[in-house]
Symmetry: C2
Subunit: 357 residues, 2 copies
């Protein structure tokens, strides 16, 4: 199989490296790599100046999109699919917005669309979820699916850093981008829980209807107050299906050591789901980073090659989307005093809130 | 695809139930079920009186072995493979002893051999491991892969039960067999870590060379002593590869809340492995029970049907097998007094030992 790569940055470069180092018997070759002209020298004969050299290339079977963003990747992915190329992407932004269309185009053109790396980096969560829904009803998904914010909270909690210092450290180590707003405010996790929930429940759970409450107001005082109560704070995405309603949120939660998420620290991710015949299943690993993500993409390439039955998401159900605010117990802070309340009616009446999981 | 089931007890009956309730589009049918004559009435026309009616049946493509034990299942599995039927088994006993032969026979006969359910029940650990070794070097595996003993230790630790009472409770709830010796002494986990290590490292790690030290000597006093130190005790299987040496053991270990295994309680299992490009990957779920295990077997059936590239274990490397006793820190108890020592030279000089993880 011949592969074309769009974007040769951290992730795309990692994919290129892994594939170039696979044994010949694996039968995968990278033919073309599209990136900005500054990469031309490095890429040599494989450099593609336009996306058409990849997406319309007759010799290419699989297009790997590793650029990030939405509009341009959307254009590239649809073009590749229409040209009957299977697509592998790690792009949660464009997948969370256009998954229905991507899968439909893939089906129409007899190719595959794979996005394992868009959630949880190297954790095989999407393929496991797809396996599970073949035999199970899934009705709850929850987890820590953003490495940046988990790293920041862990640094603050265990090492007493301020949020600012923890974030700088995350940037220094490559766990956070220059602008970490999408992480801190929960937009990144919102996209990921949108993708997971839509696949799990068999209907699109609109990204823009998902309640998210960021961690920018978390302080060292809040963390030590919780520690004195034997608990800790984690930034968690959760969705629960109950008939036609999906309750979903991305918000800080209070957990105790009994909870399996308690020990998930630093840049690690963990995601759990409940299914009818298999109870609770969980997955743990590095949710970001060059090689974990690139490995997940190479696995997708191998799954395409293995001729296994393709999965196509179809938006068969329409859900009412709600959040947990009114129905759950919350830890709240107001004027430096903390307490617990049953249900939140007005978010603005507190300085900080975190659901008790 | 037509399926034959050998053994219609807890697991086999679960598989039968799941497959009978799959939508017609799934294209799987159970044609024959072998069990003792007492099941004849219940099974009706599908009852098979001899294994040959399953293993030599021209209309059957896949044989599901769910009987347990070693000698008879070995006979059935080899017969089915030689008759060009793919085999799915949950039998860790026979797999840990004969995996090399089973995979070789499957390859020779152009069929598949699948044993996902033999380790970790409903946790997709074997297929993930097989995926990983395609791109990664795996050099460490560790986890709680026996639900019975984890249930017993959790009951003792969290609810103050004696081992005897905890074990009775486990039996009452169906988490332990009448004779729980294989669980308590670690034989069950020894078989599972043998299977996982052999696949991960690409060479057979002989079952009978794996050090195991059971939990029969664990007391409430030991657990509360550890609790006062901020730690707890878990019964863990671990293997580490370093060149031609595999260090492997099944023994109680002392862990603190930082460790991801800390929150793994009751009948749940969790298993982690380290791989070169993906760091640490972990899996969590019900490691036993009717539907988790049966679901894993049905997934294996679907993987066989999907025409995905088969995996065949080959015993390509010969390892020196060692344990951790001399090289690790241990918590030791002697005459009711606990302390920590660096390395154990003589196990018999202590009343109880547990490695510090």
């Amino acid at each position: 199989m011949n592969v074309g790569i769009l974007g040769c940055g951290t992730i795309g470069g990692g994919v290129l490296n892994i594939i170039d180092n696979l044994p010949d018997s694996s039968n995968v070759k990278v033919l073309k790599v599209f990136d900005l002209p500054s990469k031309k020298e490095m890429l040599g004969a494989r450099f593609a100046e336009t996306i058409d050299e990849v997406c319309e290339n007759k010799d290419i079977d699989i297009v790997i999109e590793a650029m990030g963003g939405d509009k341009f990747p959307y254009e590239c992915i649809t073009k590749a699919l229409k040209n009957k190329k299977s697509v592998v992407t790690s792009n949660k932004e464009t997948v969370s917005l256009h998954m229905e269309e991507f899968y439909a185009l893939a089906k129409e053109n007899g190719v595959k669309f794979m996005c394992e790396a868009s959630v949880g980096g190297g954790i095989p969560i999407i393929c496991s979820l797809i396996d599970s829904i073949g035999v199970n009803e899934v009705d709850r998904i929850y987890g820590i699916i953003n490495g940046t914010t988990n790293f920041v909270l862990t640094k603050m909690d265990k090492e007493g850093l301020s949020m600012e210092d923890a974030l700088s450290e995350a940037k220094r180590l490559g766990f956070a981008e220059f602008d970490a707003t999408a992480d801190i405010e929960g937009l990144d996790m919102t996209r990921k829980i949108c993708i997971l929930s839509s696949i799990a429940y068999g209907g699109y759970v609109p990204y823009d209807q998902i309640h998210h409450y960021g961690i920018s107001k978390v302080t060292k005082e809040i963390l030590s107050d919780l520690k004195s109560k034997g608990a800790t704070l984690k930034f968690v995405a959760e969705s629960k299906r109950d008939g036609d309603t999906v309750r979903v949120s991305v918000e800080p939660v209070v957990i105790t050591p009994d909870n399996a998420l308690f020990g998930v620290s630093y840049e690690f991710n963990a995601v759990y789901y409940n299914c009818s015949q298999n109870d609770l299943l969980g997955f743990y690993g590095k949710g970001a980073g060059r090689y974990p993500t690139a490995t997940a993409m190479v696995h997708d390439v191998m799954r395409i090659m293995s001729a296994s039955e393709p999965y196509y998401f179809e938006n068969k159900k329409s859900f009412k989307v709600e959040n947990f605010l009114k129905s759950s117990k919350y830890y709240v802070v107001k004027n430096g005093e903390s307490s617990f309340v049953e249900g939140i009616n007005d978010l603005s009446s507190y300085d900080f809130v975190a659901r008790v999981l």
